[in-house]
């Protein structure tokens, strides 16, 4: 009983103990950065999207998906890589040299954007089962690299070309 009282009910939640499904989205133009540094092999991680998922309960299931597009303006190939992470608090990084140890909804991975491609478009899909009660944050982290390190190289983040969305299945 105490556990039930501790949890703020989501808006409109009924009290019949039935499965409830909620949806959360970043707003249009929710990209947190306008460009992404291209490094050498010492990667630098930046948060592209962050989204709060309120009042989860242990056993709830979250299905998240994201889309984004970055532009390679150079005449050489550039690696564009990414991950989707789960955090217990709002977590935003910019040019962070350390790889997060937070839980992964999908793993760190990527591929090159070649000059002929010009744009790199990605769809990411992640999911997890909540292991404890409370608010959670999910984020999309991106990073870029090439074979050599030249300061000042950047990929352009296309604003309004993507977002991060989550469907939350709240079990009774």
């Amino acid at each position: 009983m105490e556990q039930v009282l501790k949890r703020p009910a989501p808006p409109g939640a009924d009290n019949r103990g039935r499965l409830r499904i909620d949806h959360y989205s970043t707003p249009l133009g929710g990209e947190l950065i306008g460009d992404l540094p291209i490094t050498g092999q010492a990667y630098r991680y930046s948060t592209l999207f962050a989204l709060e998922l309120p009042a989860l309960r242990k056993g709830d299931v979250v299905q998240a998906h994201a889309q984004f597009q970055l532009n390679n303006p150079y005449n050489f190939s550039v690696m564009l890589a990414h991950t989707m992470l789960l955090h217990s608090g709002k977590t935003i990084v910019r040019d962070d040299p350390k790889q997060s140890r937070d839980e992964r909804l999908c793993e760190f991975a990527g591929e090159n954007v070649m000059p002929g491609m010009r744009n790199g478009f990605r769809s990411l899909m992640g999911s997890y089962g909540a292991t404890e009660d409370g608010d959670s944050w999910i984020s999309v982290v991106v990073y870029s690299a090439t074979w050599w390190s030249v300061p000042g190289l950047k990929m352009a983040v296309q604003k309004g070309y993507g977002g991060l969305h989550a469907v939350v299945y709240r079990n009774p």
Partner: protein, 192 residues
């Protein structure tokens, strides 16, 4: 003491009293069924669960199918819905373009293959398809999405199958399967 399955625990005393069979759920005064409730569960392969470290090139005449991930979905009931998704990354260091293709399958028992020339006849959650990884791409990143409705009660196994095709002279050369760059996850919508 009779073993109480997780399914019986989920559907509570009604299923247990009826031996898990077809006793109709009671209806409460407000008209909503009290039991059983729909329920959503989540399953995932653990980190580093890629079953192979490299992928040998097949040829147009002889494919070599390999299981990359396998995931058990326990205790399904007919009518339950499973939505699965997977991610992986393959690296091509061969200096020529090679195709990397894949499928997601559902099996009635644990099914793992390695360099199998025969295409599985098991049900497909997503079809056999793929594209080339060029030397300039270097890495091939893939996201797969599949779903199915359980046709029978019992456990099911979902797998991701990958294979690669090059020229005859490249047969046997290998691509690198990047370790811990992906996984296989499933959301199960238990209807009954």
């Amino acid at each position: 003491m009779k073993h109480l399955s997780r399914r019986q625990a989920l559907i509570g005393t009604v299923g247990a009293a009826a031996g898990g069979l077809s006793l109709p759920a009671p209806v409460s005064a407000d008209g909503f069924s009290e039991l059983p409730r729909p329920r959503v569960d989540h399953y995932a392969t653990p980190a580093n669960s890629e079953l192979i470290a490299n992928l040998a090139l097949g040829t147009e005449r002889r494919y070599r199918f390999c299981t990359l991930y396998i995931l058990r979905i326990p205790d399904l009931r007919k009518g339950d819905v499973v939505q699965a998704h997977a991610q992986f990354e393959i690296t091509n260091d061969l200096g020529v373009s090679v195709s990397v293709a894949h499928s997601m399958l559902v099996h009635s028992k644990k099914t793992v293959v390695k360099d199998d020339p025969n295409q599985s006849k098991d049900r497909r959650l997503c079809e056999y398809a793929g594209e080339c990884i060029t030397p300039e791409m270097h890495h091939g990143f893939r996201t797969l999405m599949g779903s199915f409705q359980a046709a029978a009660d019992g456990d099911a196994w979902v797998s991701v199958i990958i294979y690669s095709v090059g020229s005859e002279r490249m047969a046997g050369r290998t691509l690198t399967v990047e370790k811990n760059y992906g996984g296989l996850r499933a959301i199960v919508f238990r209807n009954s």
